[in-house]
Structure formats: structure tokens, C-alpha cells
């Protein structure tokens, strides 16, 4: 009797407390794949989280967990956050996809947002940025600036997003310089500075004088700087500390407007499942300052391409384009549809290596 009484009142007190908190504040959770200090991908997501705090002030409470491994452990981390009373949870890596879907099923009242994935549900939205638009500009600069005609590419995992980036960069590098070749190393990690540095060194030793990276740390830029006469690009974040060279430009992810928008929607009760895929035009993908290490004419061409992409006048995947095995993909003037791009699992013609399974 006594025990049940205590339990009941405890439960009530707890209920009241959470209710009170829920009324006051919207709790927003973030699951990060790397540390917030990675200087790249996760850093930008955390900047956007800070922007949410700045924008909403006392009306919002944010929690985050960093360096969450992709896989089974992610599900535990996301569930934990939902149990803590988060109203909206952003899971910010492709590898969290299935975990997010599972947790979303278990917590129908919590809203979920998964970055770079493609599985949606009643309470699960997906959002991503058209990084390949930025890759096109990088490819152009790389093709123009390489003297050895060898461009090194540090790839992370063989998923559509990464393959899209390689294709986009390659197409535009070849357009700028028909002799250019890509050497690709799959690091199988988003974040491992020592491994990224090793990969960059190997690419440089094998003759690459431009390094493109789809991993999150600044280690490849450090390796490029050490080697001298090698250029690279900021990935996900501006990586401005390596200006003006080796970092000659960058792709910057700007998640803040989207995050603020979605938090507002939860507050207003207007949140709906959405599939967002924005590029340079709406500002989700930013192109960092092109430094003076790039010749003036190349810089102008790159900026012109940026304008054309932003206005929708030019699509980086415009035919004629063939697949790697020579089969036609896009006819003259034809533009790739989003579905093919989202599931991209093939290289375009001219790339010499194979995509790992």
C-alpha cells in the first residue's frame, strides 16, 4: 500500500515535471557521427545547433551526442535521446538511417530528421544538400590547376552521395582538362585523421597535385601543405586556416536555416514529413572564398559556374554522358533526374577504377 502510494506519487511528480518542461521548451536532440571539433562535417552541424539556440533562446533546449558509431550503437543513442524527452531529433549521418527508422517507429510522437538518407516515415523527414553542385566547381578548378594531370580523391564509403561527388568532380575536371586522371582511395571512415593523412600522402607520392576529399578532418590539407605545391579544398566546413593555399576553395554546409525552420515547425505544430534536397541556390551548399592561389581566369569561370548552377540554368549532370562501361546514360542536353542521382551506384565514363561492393 505504502509502496504503491509512493510509486504513484513519484510517477505523478515525474509526469508533472516532464509536462511542465514540455510546455516551456522544445527539446531538440542531435546525433553526431564525429566529434564537434572535427573542423568539418560535425562541426557545421553543431554550428547550426548553436544557431538554433541563438535564434530561439529560452524557448529551446538542445542536447547532442558526439562520435556515435554508425550501426547498432546508434539505435541505443537515438532511443536514449527520445526517452530523455526530445521533441525533435536530427541524426546527422547516412549510416544512422536504419537506426533512425527503427527508433522512429517506437516513438511515434517524436519527430525525426535524418541527414543524407532516403527512408521517410510519418514522423521521419530526410534532408540533404546537393554537394555535387560544389563538387562540379571543385572539379573545374582541379582540372585547370593540375600540372601532373593527376587528381587524388579520398573517398569515405561507397554510397550514392560519395559516388555522386566523384562523378561530378570528374566530369568537370575532364571538361577543363581532357588529360586528367583520378586516383581514388576509399578510406572506409568519415573521420580518422591519421588514415586520411596517410591516404593524402600516398596520393601525393603517386603524383597527385590536387587532393579532393570526402572525409571530414583537415588532415589531408595538412598533408598537402607539408608536401608543398599541392592544393586541396575545405570539405563540409570552410577550413579557412589553410588559406590561401593549400586550401583554394571549399564546400560549406549551411544547415542553420533548415534547422531553425524545422524547430519552428515543431513549435507551431505544423511539422510534416518532408524530403528536402537543396543546393547552392537556396544556400544549403556554400562555396568558400576562392583564394588568389587560383589564377584569375579560372576563378572567374568557377564563379560563373556557381552562378549558373544557383540559378538553375546549368545542371552538373547534363548529357551527353556515358556510364563507365560505355553505355549511354544521358543524351545531349538531357539532365539527370533526382531518383537516379539519389541511388547512383555507377561511375561515369573515363574513371578507371572500380567502385568497391
Amino acid at each position: 500500500m505504502k509502496l504503491t502510494h509512493i510509486l504513484a506519487s513519484a510517477a505523478m511528480a515525474l509526469g508533472l515535471a516532464t509536462a511542465a518542461v514540455a510546455q516551456d521548451k522544445t527539446k531538440v536532440g542531435f546525433i553526431y557521427v564525429g566529434p564537434v571539433g572535427d573542423g568539418g562535417w560535425t562541426y557545421e552541424h553543431d554550428q547550426a545547433r548553436k544557431a538554433v539556440v541563438e535564434h530561439f533562446g529560452d524557448k529551446v533546449e538542445t542536447v547532442y551526442q558526439e562520435s556515435v558509431p554508425e550501426g547498432a550503437d546508434a539505435e541505443r543513442a537515438i532511443s536514449q535521446m527520445a526517452l530523455q524527452g526530445a521533441d525533435l531529433i536530427f541524426t546527422t549521418s547516412f549510416g544512422f538511417m536504419d537506426a533512425t527508422v527503427d527508433v522512429a517507429k517506437k516513438f511515434p510522437d517524436v519527430k525525426f530528421e535524418h541527414a543524407t538518407g532516403y527512408k521517410t516515415a510519418e514522423n521521419l523527414s530526410v534532408y540533404s544538400a546537393r554537394f555535387y553542385e560544389g563538387r562540379a566547381i571543385q572539379g573545374h578548378i582541379a582540372g585547370k590547376m593540375t600540372e601532373s594531370n593527376t587528381v587524388g580523391y579520398i573517398a569515405s564509403f561507397p554510397i550514392p552521395e560519395v559516388i555522386r561527388g566523384i562523378n561530378s568532380a570528374f566530369i568537370h575536371a575532364r571538361k577543363a582538362n581532357p588529360d586528367v586522371e583520378f586516383k581514388i582511395i576509399w578510406a572506409y571512415t568519415w573521420f580518422d585523421p591519421a588514415k586520411e593523412a596517410d591516404a593524402a600522402k600516398v596520393l601525393i607520392e603517386q603524383g597527385a597535385d590536387v587532393i579532393l576529399q570526402h572525409t571530414d578532418s583537415t588532415a589531408p590539407l595538412a598533408a598537402a601543405e607539408k608536401a608543398g605545391n599541392v592544393i586541396g579544398f575545405g570539405q563540409a566546413s570552410d577550413m579557412a586556416e589553410y588559406k590561401p593555399s593549400p586550401r583554394v576553395s571549399s564546400i560549406i554546409d549551411d544547415w542553420a536555416p533548415y534547422y531553425i525552420d524545422r524547430v519552428q515547425a515543431v513549435m507551431d505544430g505544423t511539422w510534416e514529413t518532408k524530403d528536402t534536397w537543396d543546393g547552392i541556390g537556396p544556400g544549403m551548399v556554400g562555396i568558400g572564398e576562392i583564394t588568389d592561389a587560383v589564377p584569375e581566369d579560372v576563378k572567374e569561370e568557377a564563379l560563373a559556374m556557381k552562378e549558373a548552377i544557383a540559378s538553375g540554368e546549368y545542371h552538373p549532370f547534363t548529357g551527353p554522358l556515358n556510364k563507365q562501361d560505355g553505355t549511354p546514360w544521358l543524351a545531349e542536353g538531357e539532365v539527370a533526374d533526382d531518383e537516379t542521382l539519389l541511388g547512383m551506384d555507377f561511375y561515369v565514363e573515363g574513371l578507371s577504377s572500380e567502385i568497391p561492393d
Partner: protein, 306 residues
Amino acid sequence: MDMDSITPALLLASLMVAATPILLAGIGELVVERAGVLNLGVEGMMITGAIFGFAVTIESGSPMLGFAAAAAGGAGLALLFAALTQLALANQVASGLALTLFGLGLSSLLGQDYVGLKPVQPPAFKIPLLSDIPFIGRVFFSHDLMVYFGLGLVAAVWFMLKYTRAGLILRAVGENHHAAHALGYKVVRIRILAILFGGACAGLGGAYISLIRVPQWTEGMTSGAGWIALALVVFASWKPGRVLLGAWLFGGVTVLQLNLQAAGLAIPVEYLSMSPYLITILVLVIMSADKSRAPASLGRIFHASG
């Protein structure tokens, strides 16, 4: 695929660099284990060394001071382990694991202000004349000082363990601490010194990653190198020469597999990625088919009472 793009001299030269962090940490842990102590905190001490070395290099502008601070930082963390296991007689496995977790947390706390900064680079130390020899000069004689330091340390530890009285005493403590105690050797004191040495070496190994190999500070940047060093000691049957061999193998295959990938070799990347672990373990296991075994008192707690 074009194999021509792989330059053997450069490949071997980067092997030496890639092997140095685990070599330093491994040789330190070897001394600790030969003294009969199992310290699983190598990863924690490495990353602590990495941030201490990085921070001091940034503040002072001197990589030498940075490395000294890294050794001190690693040894400082090791001192904590020594106090727990040698004085408070805590379980070594649990304390070591705790040390790793603590080191990772401490380093990311200390490192918050150092993200994105660039340390001063120590000059490559080209040994005069020798470095001009074609091929060999590039492979062996044009590295930074720490590479030579690591090799020297392995030689010194090997000599110390095999030929000196100090080495004999250390091994005695590791094999049978009661007998060593009965002979009048200060078991606890000797073990604490060994633990401190191991910590300093791990710290240097960590700083080599943050100051030379990468070079920058990012959280969790040692990413498992400490565990590899630990495994290396076991698979090397607690012999310094084999630690060196194992480190070179591991570093070598790591660099080689990246080279093969970049050259477009048609082997699935997954196999290439696991090859460093597989080949290193395989070779060392085959080598350890002789009668070598672990120090008899490894991991056991010593108390003078009995």
C-alpha cells in the same frame, strides 16, 4: 592499374613514418609487461601525449619542448595507474581500461582550444652523406629525429633487457615477484619506474601522430593505435626485435594497401583494409611458435606480505 606509380623508396620511407607511433608505444608497453604489469591504458596515454605535445608546441613554438611535454603527460597519466595498481592494489585490467577512457576524455577537454591550429614542424634531419646514397638514403636516412629516436630506443631496450644487470632485475620482477622480493629488490618501486617509462613512450608515440604524422589536433585522433601497440607486444612474444618487425609490417602493409588502392589494383578494398592486421598477426604468430611465453607474473598483484 599502373604499378609504376608506386615508388619503392617513397613507400619504404613512409613505412618508417607510419610505424613510429606504434613502435614507440609498443616498446614502452613491452618494458611494462616484462616487469609483470599489464597496462591497458596505452591508448589513453597516447592521446594524452598527443594533446600535451601539441599544446606545448603551439604555445612555445618548439617541437622539442612539445615532445618532452608529451612524455611528461603520458608519464603523468601512467603515474595515476601506478598509484592505483601498485599502491592501492587495484585490478590492473580495470584500471588500464579506466585510464584509456580517462585519457580520451581529458584530451578532448584540454584540446578544445587547439582545434584547427598548425604546429611548428621540426625539420627533417637528413644525415649528412648517408642521406645522399641513392634509394637507401631516402629510405633510412632522411627522416625526422623521432624516427631515429624510436629505433635507438628499441636497440637500447633490447640491450638493457638482455645484457645488463638492470634488465635482469626487471625480468626477475616480471617472472617471479616473490623471489625478487626475497632477494631484496624493491618490486613496487621497479614496477612504478617501468610504468612511468611506458607512459612516457606512449606519450611520445601520441605526439608523433599529432605533431608530425598528421599534423594537427583532432579529438580521438590516435583512433586505436594504442590497442594495436598492445596487441603488437603480445604477438611479438615480448621481444623488442619482434616489436620492431611487427611495427614495420603493420606500418608497411598500411601504406602499401593505400598505394595499391590508389594504383587501382583490382582487389576488393575490404580485403586491403584488413590486410595490415591480418598479415602482422599471422607473421608474428608463426614466429612465436618457439618456446617464448608471457612473463609469469604478468597482471598479478604484488604485496610484500605475501
